[in-house]
Each structure stands twice: as C-alpha cells, then as structure tokens.
Subunit: 227 residues, 2 copies
Amino acid sequence: MEKEYKLLLAEDDENLGMLLREYLEAKGYETDLCPDGEEAYKAFTTNTYDLCVLDVMMPKKDGFTLAKDIRLINADIPIIFLTAKSMKEDVFQGFKIGADDYITKPFSMEELLFRLEAIIRRTKGSNAIQDVYQLGKFTFDTQKQQLIDGDNVVKLTTKESELLKLLCNNANKVLERNFALKTIWVDDNYFNARSMDVYITKLRKHLKEETSVEIINVHGKGYKLVM
Amino acid sequence: MEKEYKLLLAEDDENLGMLLREYLEAKGYETDLCPDGEEAYKAFTTNTYDLCVLDVMMPKKDGFTLAKDIRLINADIPIIFLTAKSMKEDVFQGFKIGADDYITKPFSMEELLFRLEAIIRRTKGSNAIQDVYQLGKFTFDTQKQQLIDGDNVVKLTTKESELLKLLCNNANKVLERNFALKTIWVDDNYFNARSMDVYITKLRKHLKEETSVEIINVHGKGYKLVM
DNA sequence: AAAAGTTTATAACAATTCTTTATCCATATA
DNA sequence: TATATGGATAAAGAATTGTTATAAACTTTT
C-alpha cells in the first residue's frame, strides 16, 4: 500500500490552479488549492502536507512571505516556487528561503510533475528508519545496541538503545515527551517521565565526548537530538 | 569540521567547463572536470563523488547514456543535467533516468550553485538546513540554541531561542507583537505579552556586548532587531 | 536455589525554565 | 502638563527538568 502524498498548491490564477490540481490529483497526489497566500497559510496550519507548490505573485500574501512563514513552522518541508518572472534576483531569493526548485512560467504540467517527483524521491528516503546511525564519531547500531567509536564499543541497555533510536529517528526535530513515553514505556505517567529523564542523563554521558551531537531539552515539549 | 563535497563535472565546452570548475571550487566544492562522457565514466569508476553535473551533448558518450551507466553503479547519487536544448522530450528523458534537476543553457553559475545546494541539503540529511545567523561577533545557532562568540558558548533556553530566531527572520523589520505571541506562545493574552517582555530583556542582556546589534521597541507595534 | 551482576524504577533534592507580580519608566495624545 | 497606555526590569513563584543514590526486578553464574 502506497501512502498518498498531500500537496499544498497556492495559485491565484483560477484556471491554472484548477488545471494543475486536476492533473496532480489524476497522478495520485491529493491536492489542496488555495487562491491566495493567506488562505494557503491557514490551510498549512490546519493540515499536514508533504510538499508545497507556491506561486510567487499572489494577492494578500506573496509566495516568498508565505514560504518564510511556512519555514517557521516546518523547516524541512519541500517547497517549489512557480513564477512568471525569470529575473535572476527573484530566483536567488527563492532559493535563499530554502526552495527545492524554482519553475518559471510557462511550464508544462509534466515538467512540474517530474521535478516534484525528483524531490519526493529524495525526501522519502531521508526520513526512513535506519538500523545504523552515525552520531559524530560514534556509530550507533540499533540492532546490536552498541555505540562504536573505533575500537571502543559501549554496550547500551535496551531502554537506552530504544530512546536513542527514537531520538535518531527524529534527529533535529523535537521528540515529544508523551510520544516517547507511550512508545517505550507504554504508559506516560509521572514516574515513567522521571525514568525517562534518568535515561536522557545516561545517554548524554555516553555522548559527551562528541561535542557535535547534543540532546537538548525543549521545555514542556520534549527532547531534541541536534547534530 | 566540514566535509568537502566532491563533484563530477562533465562538460565538453572547455571554456564553460573551466569557468564552472573554478567557480565551484571557489565555493568549496572539490570538482573533477571531464571533457567527454567516456572520461567522465572512467573518473566515476575510480573516484567517489557526492553529486554529478552532466552536459547532455558530449562527444563519445552523451550525458543521458553516461547517466544510465552511472545509475547502474550508484542508483542514488544526485544528477543534474546541463543542456542547450530546452525541448520537452529531452527534459523528460533526463528526469526519467532519475535526474534531480535539469538546467537549460544559458544559466547563471549562481543558479547552478543554488540548485546544487538545494539538492545537497536534501541528500545529506536535515542538518544542512540548520539556520545559523551572524549577529555581530555572535553566531546564533538556532538548532543548538546557542550564542557562540569564539570559545564562549552561551546556551539559550527554548523560548529565548525561538524569540531570537523570529527576530532574526525579521531583521531590520518590525516583528509584530501579536505575531510573535501567536507563533511562540500560541495565545496572545496579557500575561504572555508580559512574559515576552521578560524574554526581550533576557535577549538584550545576552547581546549587550555586541553594540552593533540591538533590539529596539516600536511603540504599540512590536520589536525590531537592527544590525 | 543462592549469589552476583545487570538493568530498570523510584525517591529525594538541586537546578533551570517559564510565568506572574510589582514597581518604575517612556511615549502618545489631549 | 496631565493622563492613559505601553514597555522595562527585577524578583518571587510555580512548574519542569537534571542528577545522584538507592531500591527493586530481572538474568546469569555458581
């Protein structure tokens, strides 16, 4: 079973917008069409999308501003800009915001589809769950429950390993406390939360020699493995 | 320590090739230039690259054929095609082989760089997105929530970091009070507004040693990070 | 099956983070 | 210049998180 991808399409030209939506839906992408930047932002805050296709020139909130606001909420989601302008500075601004692609009108729908799929192909793999993670100089083997640094092998306990694996799965994102507790400890009560704190301390000790990797706390939310 | 990326550049136009290599090397990418498809293939089999930039029309072995051969060895390496043709069918063929991007000549070197970096950002994990701001002598790492000044590292709390990040995103523009409150505190009530005041004071203390950076108040509107 | 060793849970307390309150200062407007 | 509204700062209070010690629950060894 393939997971259906959900796209946010922000395009003020109604004809083009409808056409694109129809085409993308036919190609298997669930597509929400918004006629301006503000509506698109509202849609983004209330739904979960896998990729955004944003027209640059739109009423109320232009594509660049919208992209910046979206980046504040999700620093990772792929963004493709559509624009009539092909001005250099414009293209650069788009990429600086963190665009994944920049397509100038007129373009064929097929080209959009190809570019979109090229990005999705890259994106999918990146958040796949791995068995072995590289944490700076340490290699973390989730199967063997080991932290390896050259000849030096540190065995992790099951809980330590499960927690570190969850953190790795969510590297550079916040791992929510409740989610971790429910996943590893099943019940997210007070005592398990204390227990989790203790394991965070243990993991920090294990990783303290590698300064480029750090488990930071996000107050009231959870923990984040930054590297 | 940053790992240097290694690029394979296949381009038969000697002038363009040398120019691109020089530019990419200056931007920190180790670049091997090959004048035709066969040499490029040989280079690929004997070295390890992170990304390929291939001209489509080349003597001995064209870019598409080369890409297919490369794909047999490495199904995953990102490929960018360069071409003078902008024919539809051509673009599609490129993407079908598994191109990550397709740039038609003439293009600016800066655009190539941006597209290349967009792909590398996706390919090499999320840490490339890590936004880092320069605030005078301070380096602000939003991921690690740190203000760095040489050896001196000051850890910021989550709230401090979120607020400073918002200010940086709107540097030299007014960050509206309500927008910041809704973004960070969710609810923009009276108490959260007081709380925000407190955090502004904290950030000012952190930044007080750098006179070129200042958080100024815009009465009745919000705050502005000037630098 | 007792002893020894590991792993996990709990308790107690320390430290940090965030919120709220109080008081004083600044700015806009009448 | 009086007054209302908005902002600055310090300090107290509440909640969350960090650390260490120790107890309990398992496993393995003898």
